[in-house]
């Protein structure tokens, strides 16, 4: 999948890509074997090949950081398609939206087929261990929200784990707006137990929980876990629309898992 991308190479736009595809170049290996047929001048061809060789080496080494930094966001789905089962999906809830005074309250993650949650005052710090294990992070809007908030909550330097922000992958697939809007367009229905809790209510839940309402705490963790599951499903759906056949986890099982809450 990754080896089918051309537009990450410098000077290759949609027009050049079409030329390549029309000439039957499907992936990097085609380019390496039929180097002479490339529809470029010799200089441009040599640059193109050397760039593909660098990408190919990174691909063989599974250097996702390099690939993600090189690939345009519209091509990130290819990386996701190949490594979705190695990816760690996560989502956070916060105590408010101020960079100064608020921090993460609950973090949920789908990591190596397991759904886990990290709760402030209980085991939140354990998330840092998971972060050290993770090979690739997938979030919805994490680039501007979840990751900076994680850095702020734990006071750690910028997280260096490769990261795919699904919000922009979805955007290039024609899905705009927030996660819930995209879910409804994709016919993904959240379990009725979660109802229509949104981000603002989640903040309220946190404060109700802090003042002694343990049901609020349970609902908050469930909501966060459900968000992660939904992020995962949106990713699967986009890959499906791209024609990628990936073995995905069972939807009903995941939602059932989301509703089990072991920490609070």
């Amino acid at each position: 999948m990754i080896r089918g991308s051309f537009t990450h190479a410098r000077g290759i736009g949609p027009v050049a890509e079409k030329k390549l595809r029309d000439k039957g170049f499907q992936n990097w290996d085609d380019c390496f074997s039929r180097r002479k047929d490339l529809p470029f001048s010799s200089g441009k061809g040599a640059r193109f090949i050397s760039e593909l060789q660098r990408s190919s080496a990174a691909h063989q080494k599974k250097d996702l950081r390099f690939l993600l930094s090189r690939f345009p966001v519209s091509e990130h789905w290819r990386i996701l398609a190949e490594y979705i089962n190695d990816a760690t999906f996560f989502d956070i809830e916060t105590t408010g939206l101020s960079w100064h005074y608020n921090h993460a309250s609950v973090i949920a993650a789908l990591h190596r087929g397991r759904l886990c949650s990290f709760v402030c005052g209980v085991n939140l710090d354990d998330f840092l261990d998971l972060l050290d294990e993770a090979e690739m992070l997938v979030t919805f809007n994490g680039g501007s929200f979840d990751l900076p908030f994680i850095e702020k909550t734990f006071h750690i330097p910028p997280v260096e784990v490769p990261h795919v922000d699904l919000r922009w992958v979805a955007y290039h697939q024609g899905y705009r707006g927030g996660l819930k809007r995209i879910e409804s367009r994709m016919n993904i229905h959240r379990p009725p137990e979660i109802g229509d809790i949104d981000g603002y209510e989640a903040v309220e839940l946190y404060y109700r929980w802090q003042s002694g309402d343990s049901n609020a705490g349970r609902d908050l963790v469930r909501y966060c876990r459900t968000d992660v599951v939904c992020t995962y499903m949106v990713a699967c759906r986009i890959l499906y629309e791209k024609g990628v056949d990936v073995a995905v986890q069972d939807r009903d099982w995941l939602f059932r898992e989301a509703l089990t809450c072991t920490v609070v």
């Binding site: 840092l128 900076p148 006071h155 330097p157």
Partner: protein
């Protein structure tokens, strides 16, 4: 000017004690450096500048070679050009540009600077913008500055609480492109404040490294005794120091005037106030159009002098104005402009105009009393002096002994060394406050560059132990969810202001301690010559209501202070003298106010002040004299005890800052009575940190009391005065409350001799009333191998205590 001097000499011929002249000095010039870019050279030529002072060219070379540079300069020596020219020169040559951070110690100074860069800035304005980022900057403007300005003017407080904690988000771009940090008036960063600021610079250097920049420091300082050592301590790096000033100096005349002694109706002799000289001088100077600046010691004193000058001469009101801290920014700027343009001929001010602010050049400087330090004396006198014309400085002595000493010994001013600026960034108490901030910005490593390793290791251990820091990979991250910078005040206890309201309009502001002494209910508050009656001072809500009033008196508060040791932590005997260290409660309270009639200074009434005391807990020690010494003194003359204590109190207050790298303002001494076990009362000398919570200064003196006393001993011993002077012990040290003792001190050199006797008793155990000596009593000292460990245990204990105080403070704040 010569005519004015003739006027001065004839009118005050009997009061002038001496007249010194400093010869004129020609400037030394150099041509523009070869590398100076044409657009900048054009701007300079357009302003009539065709060559630079030699020190400006030296600075240009040093800064262009990217060396950390310190300029020690006097006012009007072209300081701004010295540092700004090379930076702009490099800026217009660099393709990508870079960012520059300009730090000034106060908001007032930084606001003033934006204008002074003026036309030079126009050369690069197309590509770069300049913005002031401080507490007064509106929110929308902040975003514009953060995202677009290449030159940002700010202050250390904003750096500490606004820029550094947000380095990862809003300031990332600015900090990663940072090439120069300009720090003006570095001599103001001394003592506890300087130690705090030094840690802020540590944090800044660290954060810059995170963003891949390693900026060069360019600093300027007024004259201090140790410019090189001071900047090294402040910035933790070596500097190229450009100390010689090549700007021209006009001939300068200094007159030392002692107002006359007169007999009052009750036949008592008293000395007239400095106003008796300054008022006619100012009136005459204004009449002749001579630019004049008059320095007073206090804000309300400046206001009163202004009223005396225009009293009966309302025509002068438009040419003379008071300028002081606490004015509104618009008022302040209006006055600065009027002064620079020459519309205003005389400004009566406080030390607010001692530094920085560009007010043009003046010809006459009047010092109404000694400003407290030699450095300030020269800085204030330096405000007068214009190219090609001689300048005049008139020093007026007040009645207090230090002023009187100076007026009789003008050579003291000319020869005494300028004070050193001291600080210690590794002060455990201060470092402990900054480590959480540092960790909040970026995880702390096992060792950090430029931080003393022993104290760092201990403080790190403590913060790990109380789980403020948690291990993260090979470092330690901040584990709490608060904003640690919020709990750290760089400027100690008075980091907020009380707003003064007249109706619904704010007419001024004042710090909370000043408010207690000048804005209590029924106080008369003077503001630019207008008088207001204070209706209500609400310290909780930080506001004071006043209403305009027309009276012919002013009010003066009478303060009372009480120093109590609330908890004894340690105790030791020094040659049989009991010295106790512990928590000290300082309680200062204005108890009543006096109404004093203007002109006649008659006391026309008084009233009570019912304000809560200004109170803080700190650490300090008390010292009770050895019994034998006390007994010997009582048998000779009981007043010797008071004389000795006040003398030693003065000496210790001035010597102690040297031993603990503090500023004199950070330490306070007092003589007070303490109760003994048998119910009797005894005089005790207190020395304590004048900072809430204490920062370990008095502790250091307690630990090395012998060296402190030895230093005091040699200060007196080496002083050539023979009978007491401000350099050793003045004849009447400040604080003496008893009329009996005061009488003795004024008539004799008792303060000096008795202090020496007490020092000898404390150092050698000798009791030396004239001609009497006792045998030495040895004291055992603990020495040996366990010293190192004991030090560590002590340090741990101290830090633990300080950390608990900080924790409580943070809890309170959040």
């Amino acid at each position: 000017m010569d005519k004015f001097r003739a006027f001065l000499e004839s009118k005050f011929s009997r009061e002038i004690r001496s007249h010194l002249t400093m010869n004129k000095r020609d400037g030394e010039y150099s041509a523009f450096p070869d590398t100076l870019q044409q657009p900048l050279a054009d701007v300079l030529r357009a302003d009539g500048i065709s060559s630079l002072y030699r020190h400006q060219v030296q600075a240009f070379d040093s800064i262009s070679r990217n060396r950390n540079t310190l300029l020690v300069s006097q006012t009007a020596s072209g300081k701004t050009l010295s540092f700004f020219l090379p930076i702009l020169n490099e800026y217009i040559q660099s393709g990508q540009g870079f960012t520059v951070l300009l730090l000034y110690p106060t908001k007032a100074l930084s606001r003033d600077q934006e204008g002074t860069f003026g036309r030079l800035m126009d050369v690069v304005r197309a590509g770069a913008s300049l913005g002031t980022y401080d507490g007064d900057t509106p929110r929308e403007e902040r975003n514009r500055i953060q995202s677009g300005a290449d030159f940002i003017i700010s202050n250390p407080d904003m750096l500490h609480s606004g820029i550094l904690p947000n380095h990862n988000r809003k300031w990332r771009t600015f900090l990663s492109r940072l090439r120069y940090i300009v720090v003006d008036e570095v001599h103001m960063y001394r003592g506890a404040f300087g130690s705090h600021v030094s840690n802020v610079f540590r944090r800044l250097i660290r954060v810059c490294a995170v963003h891949g920049s390693s900026p060069v420091f360019v600093c300027s300082s007024a004259t201090v005794g140790n410019p090189g050592g001071h900047v090294r301590a402040l910035f933790h790096r070596e500097f190229n120091i450009i100390q010689r000033d090549h700007s021209p100096r006009p001939e300068r005349h200094f007159y030392f005037i002692n107002p006359p002694l007169v007999r009052s109706e009750g036949h008592a002799l008293y000395r007239k106030g400095p106003g008796s000289v300054s008022v006619p001088l100012i009136r005459e100077a204004v009449r002749r159009g001579i630019g004049t600046i008059c320095f007073c010691r206090a804000r309300q004193e400046a206001e009163r002098l202004y009223r005396s000058v225009i009293d009966g001469r309302p025509d002068l009101a438009e040419f003379v104005k008071p300028y002081r801290g606490g004015l509104l920014p618009a008022e302040r700027r209006g006055l600065e402009r009027a002064l620079a343009s020459g519309k205003l001929r005389c400004v009566i001010t406080t030390n607010a105009l001692e530094v920085g602010i560009d007010i043009g050049t003046l010809d006459l400087c009047i010092l109404s009393g000694h400003p407290g330090t030699i450095a300030s004396f020269w800085q204030q006198a330096g405000r007068a002096g214009r190219r090609g014309k001689s300048s005049l400085t008139v020093y007026l002595a007040r009645e207090n002994p230090i002023d009187q000493y100076l007026v009789h010994h003008p050579e003291f001013v000319a020869s005494a060394p300028v004070e050193q600026a001291l600080l210690n960034a590794d002060n455990p108490y201060i470092l402990l406050q900054h480590l959480p901030c540092m960790a909040h910005e970026y995880p702390l490593r096992e060792t950090e560059e430029h931080i003393g390793s022993a104290v760092y290791a201990e403080a790190l251990g403590l913060l790990r132990h109380n789980r403020t820091l948690l291990p993260y990979r090979d470092a330690f991250r901040y584990a709490l969810q608060d904003y640690p910078a919020r709990g750290v005040n760089l400027r100690g206890m008075t980091d907020y202001n009380v707003d003064i309201y007249c109706g619904s309009e704010v007419i001024g502001e004042i710090d909370p301690i000043g408010a207690r002494g000048t804005l209590y209910k029924d106080a008369i508050y003077q503001h630019l010559g207008r008088r207001y009656l204070s209706l209500d001072l609400d310290l909780g809500r930080k506001l004071c209501r006043v209403e305009p009033v027309d009276v012919d008196y002013y009010t003066e508060a009478v303060w009372e202070s009480r120093i109590v040791m609330t908890e004894k932590d340690a105790e030791k005997e020094v040659k049989n003298a009991l010295v106790s260290f512990g928590s000290i409660n300082v309680n200062r309270q204005p108890k009543l106010y006096k109404k004093i009639r203007e002109r006649t200074y008659e006391n026309i009434g008084y009233g009570p002040i019912t304000l809560p005391p200004f109170e803080y807990d700190t650490t300090g020690f008390s010292l009770v004299a050895p019994r034998a010494w006390t007994a010997a003194m009582i048998s000779a003359d009981k007043r010797f005890i008071g004389a000795a204590f006040y003398g030693l109190s003065y000496l210790l207050h001035h010597a102690a800052p040297l031993l603990c790298m503090a500023d004199i303002k950070d330490i306070d001494t007092d003589v007070s009575l303490i109760e003994e076990e048998n119910g009797a009362w005894k005089s005790a000398l207190f020395l304590f940190d004048a900072i809430e919570g204490g920062v370990g200064y008095s502790e250091k003196i307690y630990d090395s009391l012998e060296s402190a006393l030895a230093l005091c001993g040699s200060v007196v011993g080496e002083c050539e005065c023979g009978s007491g002077c401000p350099s050793c012990v003045p004849p009447l040290p400040p604080g003496v409350a008893s009329a009996d003792v005061e009488g003795l001190l004024i008539e004799s050199d008792a303060a000096r001799v008795c202090a020496v006797s007490l020092i000898k008793a404390l150092l050698h155990g000798t009791v030396a009333v004239p001609e009497i000596k006792f045998r030495e009593i040895p004291v055992e000292y603990c020495e040996g191998d366990e010293n190192y460990d004991r030090e560590r245990v002590d340090l741990h204990k101290k830090l633990d205590r300080a950390s608990k105080i900080l924790e409580k403070k943070r809890e309170r704040l959040h």
